[in-house]
């Protein structure tokens, strides 16, 4: 297990995923409710998200922020009482030899169409593989079943070979095919799950806290493998986690959600070294650093809001040290900030307000459009 394939620190976005890469999954104005009518809780409100080919898009947020909801709603796997109340989800399938790519609106697709897109084009890995794998049949039989359904042209031998190849791809040995899910460790189950999600060579992988339940060493191993596979197979990944520090290492671009809204979206390096949103700034200061002098950190005061009783204006304003009068009245829209295309929903930016120094660090991508050789000293001292 070498680290050669894993990203080093926040990567310049241009290095692996050019801005120009065409989108593969576009979420536009998606809104999701839990419950119906007046009793409904708005879990996701008017969110946009664009996942480009081969890119890792990190979606960060705390519990209740709607980060998992948005992902599950995008493939309509949300359970009752979840209801999608607006927006569209466009999946652009791989261009055929002819060149024209096909676009499917997931929200308007029929059952049959939805079934073909799911798993073979968009696959999902969830936090608990034990819940996703069938406990009473072996891993091998589950691979076999899936391949038989989705790849009818394969014969038994080919299916067997493919299963073995898939397991080896995620660092498991072929004899694991005979194991039942409960006989595997948590890490092994999650690997098997990833192998299964990759079996049909999907173009998009949705990873919903895939390593949260695992130990750090296992987590690191699996993530390294996953990123290596991404480089080899070229799928795009939507990586959902509460662990922003992990995302900074992993993702090309990061979107931060708070209380059901998309609040900031930027390249990983920009977000880490030069956050523009007070919440992102606070969240970055919730992870004690691994180096340097130990000093007291404050975290974010208060606690995440109850979605049934959101504060007026910006949902973050009661916890925000820089909240303006306007923040208590009006919800800021998500606006594009500069030439890098980063977006933020905050009244501190783009208006008359003076931007606090903490939220006005030089963007490593801002001037030149590419990351500096080493982070500037001022950015370093931020932590």
């Amino acid at each position: 297990m070498t680290g050669s394939i894993s990203p080093a620190g926040p990567r310049p976005v241009a290095a692996s995923a050019p801005r120009q890469a065409e989108p593969v999954l576009e979420i536009k104005g998606l809104s999701v409710d839990y419950g119906y009518g007046a009793a409904a809780v708005h879990a996701v409100m008017d969110c946009d998200l664009t996942l480009r080919r081969g890119e890792v898009l990190g979606l960060a947020g705390e519990s209740g922020s709607g980060k998992s909801t948005i992902a599950l709603a995008a493939i309509r796997l949300l359970r009752a009482p979840g209801v999608i109340t607006g927006g569209e989800v466009l999946f652009h399938s791989r261009p055929d030899s002819g060149g024209a790519s096909q676009t499917i609106d997931v929200l308007r697709a029929g059952d049959e169409q939805l079934r073909t897109v799911r798993w073979s084009e968009i696959s999902v890995v969830m936090q608990s593989a034990l819940n996703a794998l069938n406990p009473v049949i072996t891993i091998g039989a589950q691979f076999e079943d899936m391949l038989r359904v989705h790849r009818p042209d394969m014969d038994k031998v080919a299916r067997q070979e493919r299963s073995v190849a898939l397991l080896e791809m995620v660092g498991m040995t072929a004899d694991r095919l005979r194991s039942y899910p409960h006989e595997l460790s948590g890490g092994m189950r999650q690997r098997a799950m990833i192998a299964m999600a990759l079996a049909l060579e999907p173009q998009v992988m949705i990873l919903d806290e895939p390593t949260t339940a695992l130990d750090v060493v296992t987590q690191r191993e699996i993530l390294e493998e996953l990123m290596g596979l991404r480089d080899r197979l070229g799928f795009a990944a939507l990586f959902i986690t509460h662990d922003l520090s992990l995302l900074v290492e992993l993702a090309d671009e990061i979107a931060v959600m708070y209380a059901g809204r998309m609040m900031e979206r930027a390249a990983a390096a920009s977000l880490f070294y030069a956050p523009r949103l007070p919440y992102t700034y606070g969240l970055l200061h919730c992870f004690p650093p691994m180096h340097g002098e130990r000093r007291s950190m404050e975290g974010i005061p208060g606690s995440p809001p109850d979605l049934r009783a959101l504060p007026s204006g910006c949902s973050f304003n009661p916890r925000c040290p820089w909240a303006l009068e306007r923040c208590r009245r009006e919800m800021p829209p998500l606006v594009t900030l500069d030439s890098t295309g980063r977006q933020v929903a905050c009244w501190l930016h783009g208006g008359d307000a003076t931007v606090p120094e903490e939220l006005n660090m030089p963007d490593p991508l801002g001037r030149t459009g590419r990351a500096p050789e080493a982070p500037s000293p001022s950015a370093r001292s931020l932590r």
Binding site: L78, D215, P304, L307
Partner: protein
């Protein structure tokens, strides 16, 4: 491991009513239609049981044919209208009881089967029996004993199951082994035959006190009915005893008894309640069955009027064959209704203990209230987009095609 985002929507941790501990207070019990129906029915029966004997227009024992067809064997009856028609019956019964064929022992009471049961009328709302007794009065008076035995036996059995189950689960070790064996033995013994043997023993014991009979029958029903509840409670206590909050109470120096009473038991309340309803239901069934078999005694011989006894007499007098439905149907319906009311309450509590059932119920209710016409299907989240252009539902299952 870390900030656990649950598999299901992020929302689950955020919203209080779905939080793990909230279930007992988030929705108060009577909101469920099942519980409301059950409580109303139970209320009716309890009122009947209390005022029934006062309300009854006649004494249930009163042989009062109106207009009285001349009794063929009037001499066999005590003089007047207040005789007990069961002297003959009980004599026969006593003779046959040891062979446990009480079922048939009343069929041949030649001296009294000559009354012709009267159909319902203004004077006798539910008609009269073949013994020229008022069926409505019997039904009213019988409610008390039926309900009393049910509740008493239910309470006794529940007390036993709490005592045995909770101690076994909390104490563990040898105590657990011993108490588990005990409850398993009682579980393995088939209930009804044991009841019959015990009841046969009672009816032979010459106990003629009605109250004593009721209590005794409650006790034997409780003896055969506590074991299941004890097992359920033991399992639940086992899972509670190592919960962090019990551990925390121990760490703070709380005593064992206090932990059981103050920390463990309150969390068992829904299960105890459900167990109580279940055993009460069982006890009513058992009591009615015993009476129907003639093993619960009759008025004057350690028994009291109850619905099982009514049905036994009706059966013995071939009321079914003669079409005297007013005699056997009302007690049957009453037993069934009482059973239904306990079952409803039990379902209601179950819905309330089991988060999955409850969530499904709440979802259905919310959807109904919001006039949403689709049915949520697993794996196809409904899409409900209301735009000025295309108002209504798009792709929502049931509407899509």
């Amino acid at each position: 491991m870390s900030a656990a985002a649950p598999l299901s929507p992020d929302l689950a941790t955020g919203s209080a009513p779905q939080g793990p501990g909230s279930r007992f207070r988030a929705i108060s019990l009577p909101h469920s239609p099942k519980i409301i129906a059950g409580l109303v029915l139970l209320g009716v029966f309890v009122v009947l049981a209390i005022i029934g004997p006062l309300w009854a227009p006649y004494s249930p024992d009163l042989t009062c044919p109106a207009p009285p067809p001349p009794p063929l064997h009037a001499a066999a009856l005590p003089a007047g209208c207040n005789g007990n028609p069961f002297i003959g019956v009980t004599v026969v019964q006593k003779a046959v009881a040891p062979s446990c064929s009480g079922l048939f022992c009343t069929s041949g009471s030649p001296e009294i089967d000559s009354y012709s049961p009267l159909p319902p009328s203004g004077a006798h709302w539910l008609g009269t029996t073949a013994f020229a007794q008022d069926a409505w009065s019997q039904l009213l008076v019988g409610a008390r004993a039926t309900l009393l035995v049910g509740l008493l036996a239910g309470a006794l059995a529940t007390a036993m199951s709490v005592l045995v189950g909770v101690s076994a689960g909390y104490l563990g070790g040898l105590a657990d082994e011993g108490l588990s064996v005990l409850s398993n033995v009682f579980l393995a013994i088939p209930g009804l035959p044991l009841l019959i043997v015990l009841a046969g023993f009672v009816s032979n014991s010459g106990n003629n006190s009605a109250t004593g009979g009721v209590i005794f029958i409650s006790i034997i029903v409780a003896i055969t009915g506590w074991a299941y509840g004890a097992r359920v409670l033991r399992a639940q206590t086992l899972s509670l005893r190592n919960r962090d909050f019990v551990e925390a109470a121990r760490v703070s120096g709380e005593g064992r008894l206090r932990i059981i009473i103050s920390e463990v038991l309150p969390n068992l309340v829904p299960i105890v309640a459900s167990g109580f309803l279940f055993t009460t239901l069982y006890a009513i069934g058992a009591y009615v069955a015993l009476s129907f078999l003639g093993l619960a005694g009759a008025p004057g011989s350690g028994g009291v009027w109850n619905w099982g006894l009514m049905m036994q007499q009706a059966w013995g007098q071939n009321a079914l064959v003669h079409g005297d439905w007013w005699w056997w149907a009302p007690p049957g319906v009453a037993v069934a209704l009482l059973g239904t009311c306990f079952a409803l309450l039990n379902f209601g509590i179950d819905e309330f203990i089991n988060p999955r059932l409850r969530a499904a119920g709440l979802t259905r209710k919310a959807a109904r209230r919001a006039h949403v016409s689709f049915r949520a299907r697993l794996g196809y989240t409904p899409v409900m987009i209301s735009t000025p252009a295309a108002s209504g539902m798009v792709g929502g299952p049931g509407v899509a095609r």
